[in-house]
């Protein structure tokens, strides 16, 4: 693979096939990529520095802006870290409502990533209908929390406000409609489409040892057959009171990851139904006195939850002051977006680079922070 036969391409920040504002500069020979180099940092806003300037409660508004696809995951992780260090126990109903919001966020994120995957291989009709189905969920969020995408709802110590009964009913109706009309449509359009299968089967294969060694989590590792899901391994919120199984794939390629995402949507739907069925009533959040003066006792905690893309971790250190001393965010696509590009991309074809990026769900704001 001599050097002069290769040309360099910036699959760079300004490119339609790239998921978000992030660049891979790879040089290729013939049709296969020879070596690739991630060029991240376009979305770096210095969150951790900003968090050290703001008091504890104020950070909830800042935290949900870290990852654009799933704002609730960040709020939830921050709230859990806050409660872990101060070891507060939040009321039962708040736990249930938090799990409902997280599952809705997971469905919305999966629909968005299915749409993105289809966009990468040219099936624009599916990305249109995928985003349309996601939009109805955003209306639900607007109904519950007031915000379409950024809903500052999971406050440390519970949830901002209660959900009324007719909103529950509306959630149930939207989910039924999603399951009855939307998902069969996707099946015909995407999953039974022979050309699509040809484009996804054994592309961007991630073997089991490599996934474990890289620290990849989420659908990528479940596609290789290991049923690892933080909701099962370290149950948080109300996940221990709900029974659901974790879908797994077999040979860890783009196709398995997509099928897993599709099954997880169904799993989330029946989780939400179980949650809404037996939700206890009671107070919705812990009153922490005057939020502005609340001091978290000194200590540190690493808290992790299962986002649609994998394990999302917060390492929070507090020295007992009014402001957090240090917050380190571990995005779920960190290993894939940075190391994965260097290790996995050489050898794939050019047309499969966007398919690789979308199917492994590279979300650039997570590792730029």
């Amino acid at each position: 693979m001599n050097k002069k036969m290769q040309t360099e391409i910036f699959f760079g920040p300004n490119f339609p096939g790239v998921p978000g504002n992030y660049g891979i500069s790879y040089n290729f020979q013939g049709d296969t990529v020879v070596e690739a180099e991630p060029n991240a940092g376009h979305l770096h806003r210095g969150f951790e520095k900003l968090m050290e300037q703001r008091i504890w409660i104020k950070n909830t508004a800042l935290v949900c802006r870290i990852c654009v696809m799933e704002p609730d995951i960040n709020e939830m992780a921050y709230a859990m870290g806050f409660e872990a260090i101060g070891n507060l126990e939040i009321p039962e109903r708040a736990k249930y409502i938090r799990s409902i919001i997280l599952e809705l966020a997971r469905i919305q994120a999966h629909l968005f990533s299915i749409g993105g995957n289809c966009g990468a291989i040219g099936l624009y009709t599916a990305s249109h209908t995928g985003t349309l189905a996601r939009d109805y969920l955003l209306d639900l969020f607007e109904e519950i929390t007031g915000g379409r995408v950024y809903h500052i709802y999971n406050r440390p110590g519970g949830v901002r406000k209660d959900i009324s009964d007719e909103t529950f009913q509306k959630i149930l109706d939207t989910i039924d409609e999603l399951e009855k009309e939307r998902m069969p449509e996707f099946d015909h359009l995407i999953f039974e489409n022979p050309v699509a299968q040809k484009r996804w089967k054994n592309i961007a294969v991630l073997s089991q040892e490599k996934a474990l060694e890289m620290g990849v989590t989420g659908p990528a590792i479940r596609a290789t057959g290991l049923p690892y899901d933080v909701r099962k391994l370290m149950p948080y919120a109300a996940y221990d009171k709900v029974n659901f199984e974790v879908p797994t794939g077999s040979n860890g390629d783009a196709w398995d990851r997509l099928v897993i995402k599709r099954d997880e949507i169904f799993q989330s739907i029946n989780i939400i139904r179980q949650l809404i069925k037996n939700i206890p009533d009671g107070p919705v959040n812990l009153d922490l006195g005057n939020g502005l003066k609340y001091k978290v006792p000194a200590g540190s905690a690493y808290v992790k939850i299962e986002s649609a893309r994998g394990e999302f971790g917060y390492y929070m250190v507090s020295d007992g002051g009014l402001k957090p001393y240090r917050v380190h965010v571990r995005g779920s696509s960190n290993p894939v977006g940075l190391y994965g590009v260097v290790a996995e991309l050489p050898g794939t074809r050019i047309e499969d680079v966007p398919v690789w990026a979308h199917s492994l769900d590279v979300c650039p704001p997570e590792f730029d922070r």
Binding site: P16, L43, H44, K49, S127, T131, L132, R148, V149, Y150
Partner: protein, 177 residues
């Protein structure tokens, strides 16, 4: 905006066409990009106004700065802006382009967009809703019609002003032709 300059009738006809088919550059710089797919797709369809995403700066004539801008992206945005063809318009999304928004004290984001690029239109909202984006597009169409959207002429006129600001933040910026 130095008001509507004297325009020949040929210019007006051309503006009528420019208004009808705005080609948007498919480059999501900041967090506002999550609201673009819903605007493009079936629910809040912007295709019916003739606005469709284009892949390369050569063909696009509408540049969306969606949300905040880190200095690294600013450098690439200037290259993209200079590659675009002449009647080009820039829309700034959200409060981060106006005065730094929520990241006012972040060391890596720029605070005012119009010190580096001539901006024709701002859309308010920390991540404006799809309806707000559509309303912004329609407002831009009226501005094109009335000839007020002449950011690109301003960029040519006081190029040194923009260049001085860009150099101040980025250091040396390589110029395309």
């Amino acid at each position: 905006m130095d008001g509507t300059y004297k325009r020949g009738s040929w210019e007006e006809v051309m503006d009528w066409f420019r208004k009808r088919s705005l080609w948007m550059l498919h480059y999501c710089t900041g967090c506002g990009a999550i609201e673009l797919p819903p605007t493009m797709t079936s629910r809040y369809d912007m295709g019916r106004f003739g606005i469709s995403p284009m892949a390369t700066p050569r063909q696009a004539d509408l540049l969306l700065v969606t949300g905040y801008l880190s200095t690294k992206t600013l450098r690439r945005l200037i290259y993209t802006y200079e590659q675009m063809q002449d009647p080009k318009f820039v829309i700034g999304f959200g409060s981060c382009a106006i005065n730094g928004g929520m990241y006012w004290d972040s060391y890596n984001t720029i605070k005012q967009l119009d010190k580096y690029l001539p901006v024709d239109l701002y859309i308010a909202g920390c991540m404006p809703r799809p309806e707000a984006i559509l309303d912004g597009f329609l407002e831009l169409r009226d501005r094109i019609e009335s000839g007020k959207a002449d950011g690109y002429k301003k960029y040519k006129k006081n190029f040194e002003y923009y260049q001085k600001n860009q150099e101040a933040v980025l250091g040396e910026v390589q110029r395309t032709q």
